[in-house]
Homo-oligomer: 253 residues x 4
């Protein structure tokens, strides 16, 4: 039976602030990318999120970022490779301690926001990320945007990886994400999105923005949980996948 | 042959700032309490400090604090036990990742500043600390002020611990530290201090501020490296201990 | 015609996080205590909040806190009087610049959370606060809990002040707030609360928790806007006051 | 009599950390660019620095930065123009409150590190900076790198400005700073540097890295105080200027 993973950013509250609907969304996903205090969250929120993920049997990953709480990690920073390496190491370690407390493994690492975007194109950054992951724990899985420098980096560094695709994003003819600034870059209809996801999993292809059927490797689907609409999308995807006999399962399980 | 451990706070720089003389002091101590970003340090400085400790074969410990960079962790905060527990877990984890990168064990945890002072007297805080340590890694050693609530907590929680004494501090008749505000609380003469330390190790006693010889358990001696005078003291202690046939050795080795 | 001021904490979002319903609440209050980045908010959120207050003709005040974003300024800290003075000065200044940009005056200062609570009882802290306010701008009004050390401090230091009461809190026979831990400390029925407020303004008295009618000076009423229930309370208070021929007006106007 | 201003970054300590030798350097300069907590400093250090500058009769300026304590404000960040504007407003305001406390004017603003470098080339950033300065206080002077987008911005926005040159940096034929990465970009000999400065002030020219005498407008000379060598340089410059009958005087006095 075919299976696929749904990953979602979780634990992005901070202090007294909450964002998203983690309690509601967690049961519907299979992998959680947990914020580590650099773009969002703090020790108490991290602990709470790890407990919630553990209770739901969801695979737990670190979601490291540039140190930019005020900008939610969305602002590119000219950090050196050594700084990125140190920052990622720190964040993986911090989260791993909560996993050890709760008796669940830390299983993957997915960069957040501006750091993710940088690693998509900049091989040296992607390699710094891959090396940090491997150096901390050689069994950690790196979540890489399909068809990006991240995949190259994971291969070169020799770190286990999965390729991720975005459920609600258009793809270019070359299998890259259409930039958000371009019209049609973001899809909104839950049913259309769910059908695209099913096709990605079953046929390993997607219809590009210019109408061609192109190959796309999808080990995990990135979904969002931070709005009512986003949650509807997750439910639609799950329903369509289950109807299509695709199992929802965390990668590596 | 008798042996004793010398522990010292290390890695308390931050950003472009340095403090102390880590490069100079590290070869003279046997255990380093490494700042974890809450009262001092940042990922890059933590990494550098772990490398330096590893090169010198020094035992590495986490030195967690309240979140108070501006106050260097010296200001008491009304944090809840859960917050303390989460903060300590986070910091141990963050440091442990640098240890894993460098292939050296994280071996102990010693609370910093106001958190240390709180745990000296407040058993619930000491137990929250002990529980966090044990929950992250049951082999981690808790560094406890001799004759304090920390020791009680370590025993009750069942976490390995060592008792520490201060080389340059006067003791009361009851074996407690004389508060810094009292005259004579801090000793300054390196030779007198060194002789006291030798006595603590050999006879397991100290002359209290009121002139009595009182029992004192010393598994590790806390020394400071943040001034020229402090460094002289470390050298005097080492010299006196070696002359007295006491080996300098990290605890647990 | 009698008049009274309604003050409310505003601008307590941070980064991408929002809290409360500032847009909705602002038109219903007459004074806004604007967070200054130490317990909540950041430069962009402060600017937005000052603009919103200015558009609504609401009196603007600084709402300084201990530096504790993670704890939302609710945790007491052993800061020195000089540190408190510096922190308050910094925060007043930062907010005042946004007021100058928007062409509106900064008119008052009300301490937040743990700093407020400290200044209620600890005269030296209350005086440090009063002195900082006066030193930055001698026309700034200090918002003081009625019947507290703050009032004493404002008088001794010679800073303009107003006395505030809480709409939804019970009072002791001595005119002090009943601690939240005690049953009956917090009132919930909007109509009862509104009637109490009207009585405070008209008769300058309140019925204490033990049933006596006691004097209470009320220059401004503290209300909350961070929940649906809180907003209902504000509306009930306004309606009752207006029906009772009490004008809603910022103090000092 | 000719006169010139010497400006220097001051107050770049943080928490318990100090950097530079402010006490020693302050009497030798005429303008201090005071860190405002975003790349260095905190309220207590800002207050101390303003007091020190006031005691020495030195002109006080704000030295705003991107929010990057860990990177000392040296890392470029993709902040929006509105974020830069808000950050600069906040920092000017915070510092101005300490000036008001000490009864001295805040007189200028000079961007720090990566923000400065950005404003050298990026006119929109330079204009955002100029607009923030003007909006807070129309009499504040913007310190602009001579021959850069900052000057254009100050003119277009209509904010008072001075042009600054670097004592120890080589200039291109076009009057731009030679990038630090190029050999010969930084000068080290205090006497040569002092003679260059005298020529800049007297002849309003400098010998470029390719040997030509080119025009250069110098209202203020940027010097550094963070090392023993830097302090020697300041003393050499002062001595040479005084011998050359050039008065040292803060701009705008």
């Amino acid at each position: 039976m075919l299976s696929i993973d749904l990953n979602c950013d979780m634990g992005e509250g901070f202090s007294v602030y909450s964002i998203g609907n983690d309690d509601q969304v967690m049961p519907f996903i299979t992998s959680a990318n947990v914020a580590c205090g650099f773009h969002a969250s703090d020790p108490s929120n991290m602990w709470k999120t790890v407990k919630l993920a553990a209770r739901n049997g969801v695979g737990i990953g670190a979601h490291p970022s540039y140190p930019d709480l005020v900008g939610f990690g969305r602002r590119a920073m000219d950090a050196t490779l050594d700084e990125i390496s140190a920052d990622v190491t720190f964040q993986i370690g911090a989260l791993s301690a909560f996993c050890r407390r709760e008796g669940v493994p830390l299983r993957h690492v997915k960069a957040h926001g501006a750091m993710y975007n940088k690693a998509v194109d900049a091989l040296p950054v992607a390699k710094a990320l891959a090396q940090a992951i491997k150096a901390v724990d050689a069994e950690l899985v790196m979540v890489c945007l399909s068809n990006s420098a991240m995949v190259t980096a994971a291969k070169e560094v020799g770190v286990p990886y999965v390729e991720e695709v975005f459920a609600d994003r258009a793809y270019t003819h070359e299998g890259k994400l259409v930039p958000r600034s371009r019209e049609g870059a973001v899809l909104h209809d839950p049913d259309i999105i769910a059908q695209r996801v099913l096709k990605m999993v079953r046929d390993k292809t997607v219809i590009s923005i210019d109408g061609a059927e192109i190959p796309l490797k999808a080990d995990t689907i990135c979904v969002h949980g931070d709005s009512a609409g986003a949650f509807e999308m997750i439910k639609a995807i799950r329903k369509t996948l289950e109807a299509g006999n695709v199992a929802l399962k965390a990668f590596g399980k």
